[in-house]
């Protein structure tokens, strides 16, 4: 893992299509902290994560890592960001291990596969085809895969959807471990992550979201 000390977002504005979604958003994250994005459905949490992952173009503002702009820097993103959207990106045709192995090869971290399966408590599923998994199990597999990623910054979009109590415990332990090792996490969730309070910083997206009614769209 390449260490990042500070990750800052300055005065960020994001448009999707013609519609402004977020305006003037900014925060500062230091290593070892989890930024918990809160806000009602549709307030722009997923859009923010997707933007930080480089999938949506930034209209205005800047993204800095240790003071250097990394906005739209694909090479930096590939090395330092692990993004898990609400989609699992698993192929039902393959087994759990085959699925994870493909990405681990691409990310250059094959040695962490078994460990991360173990961390999410799904060793026993290793040779099961993904099409036989329940949605919670599939989510755990997706989480285990993201644990393989060597990135310092994790972007998690609703990681807890569908996973049970035990799964949540496993996830919390893995997250705390990542934070303790100097990593950072930005996570959109409505659940209570069982992570030490001093490691969590809440960030309310609502203040920066442009509501549908005020954006001037009449949808006609």
């Amino acid at each position: 893992m390449e260490k990042i000390d500070t990750f800052s977002v300055l005065n960020l504005s994001i448009k999707r299509g013609d519609r402004s979604v977020l305006r003037g958003l900014g925060f500062n994250l230091i290593s070892g902290l989890l930024l918990k994005l809160i806000g009602p459905n549709g307030s722009g949490k997923s859009t923010l994560l997707k933007t930080l992952a480089g999938l949506i173009d930034i209209e205005e503002g800047d993204v800095l890592s240790d003071g250097i702009s990394v906005m739209g820097n694909r090479e930096w993103i590939a090395r330092n960001i692990c993004y898990l959207s609400h989609k699992n990106a698993l192929k039902s045709e393959f087994t759990v291990l085959e699925n994870i192995k493909f990405w681990a090869d691409l990310w250059g971290c094959q040695n962490k596969i078994l460990y991360s399966l173990n961390q999410m408590g799904i060793d026993y599923l290793r040779d099961t085809p993904v099409r036989y998994l329940s949605s919670g199990q599939a989510r755990r597999v997706a989480l285990a895969r993201s644990l393989c990623h060597p990135a310092a910054l994790w972007l998690y979009d609703e990681p807890t959807v569908g996973i049970d109590d035990q799964g949540l415990d496993y996830l919390s332990i893995a997250m705390e471990k990542h934070l303790a090792g100097g990593g950072m996490i930005i996570c959109a969730t409505h659940d209570n992550l069982r992570i030490k309070d001093e490691m969590v910083k809440n960030f309310d997206v609502t203040k920066f979201s442009v509501s549908l009614s005020s954006s001037g769209d009449d949808w006609s």
Binding site: D57, A78, I81, D105
Partner: protein, 222 residues
């Protein structure tokens, strides 16, 4: 970089042949379409011999078209495309890899089954070799051009019909030169000129597809 590229290709080939196996269905579709013609136009041997090459080419275009939406659709829906876009492998390279896998899993089997269908249609013996050459050179263009269409329609829920409308007109040059190559081969003029044109179409689509398709995918991922 190189090994990653091949692992993307291998993954798509495996998916093509596993789970319901789209590839074998495409081959079956090709065979059925071709066998419908003798039923439709009658068993007159000379008529069949005359239309054989055109029928095989058109059936190949349609079979290829049928399988285009699977190039990106599943990856888009399950989030794999997001992960590809984030990875260190350029999206352009992934596009080429998926296009190559599409060719290997659809067009190549069609070419392999063509000699059998040629017999079925009473095709002139002298036409077979030029037809195989023309298909080997021309079908990569079908996959490449189709990849552009697939990436443009990936975010549409029912993009299949639109995809056909977009792509079929672009397939016309391949069809024309593909048939001309065989005709010239039979008549003794030599099919080189048409084969070169086919090669030009394939190379041109190879040159533009990665860029166009990757740009379209980035828009779709927004």
């Amino acid at each position: 970089m190189n090994t990653h590229f091949w692992s993307v290709v291998k993954r798509d080939i495996k998916i093509g042949w596993q789970g319901g196996s789209t590839s074998s269905m495409v081959v079956a579709f090709f065979i059925i379409v071709v066998t419908l013609f003798p039923l439709g136009v009658g068993p007159e041997q000379s008529v069949l011999a005359r239309i054989a090459v055109g029928v095989i080419w058109v059936a190949a275009l349609l079979a290829c078209l049928l399988s285009l939406d699977r190039i990106f659709q599943a990856d888009y829906e399950d989030g794999t495309l997001d992960q590809y876009a984030l990875s260190r492998l350029p999206l352009e390279l992934i596009v080429i890899g998926k296009s190559l896998a599409h060719w290997l899993t659809t067009s190549l089997p069609l070419i392999l089954i063509t000699p059998v269908l040629a017999v079925l249609l009473n095709m002139n013996d002298a036409a077979l070799l030029p037809l195989i050459y023309a298909m080997l050179i021309g079908t990569p263009a079908l996959s490449l051009i189709g990849t552009i269409g697939a990436s443009l329609t990936v975010s549409l829920k029912r993009g299949g019909v639109l995809l056909s409308l977009l792509i079929l007109p672009l397939y016309v040059p391949v069809l024309i030169f593909g048939v001309m190559a065989v005709d010239a081969g039979i008549s003794g003029i030599g099919s080189n000129a048409s084969l070169l044109f086919l090669a030009a179409v394939t190379l041109f689509s190879f040159a533009i597809t990665p860029w166009v398709s990757a740009a379209a995918l980035r828009l779709a991922l927004d």
